[in-house]
């Protein structure tokens, strides 16, 4: 790294620290800058879990509202993005607990790619049904690991739990899904 680039990086880190310090002091302008910087990232994470654009928007705003209210507790030396993601994940988990009995994966869900013709419509519905019956914590881990294929490290960080716990939740979710599908007459 050359000298000018290094000093530019140092300068940008300093201004980021200043921004975070202003935020911890309750500066609304600093909060707005952080909101503009991270709203897409938070929304992108939440929608993977809740799979509904309207709900994802609501939870994104709620995440930042909680961030704003607890601004004085934030340590500027830590990552704002990771903190925001953890709050967003907890809110999304609360949402999954609330809608436990409802269909999270509805047929109306906008899909970018057309459904695979090889997969039977009925089997797809049964898998969705089995997924919806998973306990929320296992469902969250399974959505992120099995469907969204996010790395275990990222899931663990966003949930604030060890990687081993994420692996065990995904394993338990897989076991339960297999058992439920077997009950439904689907042999994966």
């Amino acid at each position: 790294m050359n000298l000018s680039l290094r000093s530019a990086v140092r300068c940008s880190r300093r201004s980021e620290m200043e921004l975070l310090e202003r935020f911890t002091q309750g500066d609304l302008e600093a909060f707005e800058i952080l909101f503009q910087q991270f709203q897409k990232e938070v929304y992108g994470w939440v929608i993977r879990i809740v799979r509904n654009p309207g709900i994802a928007e609501e939870l994104t705003v709620e995440t930042f509202w909680r961030i704003y209210r607890s601004h004085s507790r934030f340590n500027p030396a830590l990552s704002f993005g990771a903190w925001a993601r953890r709050i967003a994940t907890n809110l999304a988990l609360d949402y999954l607990k609330r809608v436990r009995k409802e269909m999270l994966f509805s047929e109306n869900w906008i899909q970018e790619t057309p459904p695979d013709p090889a997969t039977q419509q009925d089997m797809r519905r049964q898998i969705q049904q089995a997924f919806n019956q998973l306990p929320p914590k296992l469902r969250l881990a399974a959505i992120l690991a099995l469907i969204e294929e996010r790395p275990y490290e990222e899931i663990a960080e966003s949930l604030g739990i060890p990687i081993g716990t994420v692996k065990s939740r995904v394993f338990r979710a897989t076991q339960l899904l297999r058992a439920k599908l077997k009950q439904l007459g689907v042999e994966p």
């Binding site: 609304l28 707005e32 909101f35 503009q36 709203q39 897409k40 929304y43 992108g44 929608i47 993977r48 799979r51 654009p53 994802a56 928007e57 994104t60 705003v61 930042f64 509202w65 704003y68 994966f105 869900w109 906008i110 899909q111 970018e112 790619t113 459904p115 695979d116 090889a118 997969t119 089997m123 797809r124 898998i127 969705q128 997924f131 399974a142 099995l146 469907i147 969204e148 294929e149 897989t174 899904l177 297999r178 994966p188």
Partner: protein, 73 residues
């Protein structure tokens, strides 16, 4: 259970429940956020509005009171 069996199972799950792709935020959520923050705009408590209305009414019906109000400024 072996890895290939797990991978096959994950693939089947992904065929039934598609991953979220290309779902970007369509609008700026700041206006919604701002509505949640109570002191972000100019907000005047209701009793201040009542006091202001009382002063205006007093000035209209008792114009002499204007001098009295001016003394308080």
């Amino acid at each position: 259970m072996n890895d290939s069996c797990d991978e096959q199972f994950s693939k089947l799950i992904r065929q039934a429940i598609k991953p979220v792709k290309g779902q970007e935020l369509q609008r700026d959520l700041w206006p919604q956020m701002l509505r949640k923050i109570p002191d972000s705009g100019i907000s005047v408590p209701w009793f201040d509005w009542v006091l202001a209305a009382l002063v205006v009414i007093a000035c209209l019906f008792i114009p002499e009171s204007i001098f009295g109000w001016l003394l308080h400024l």
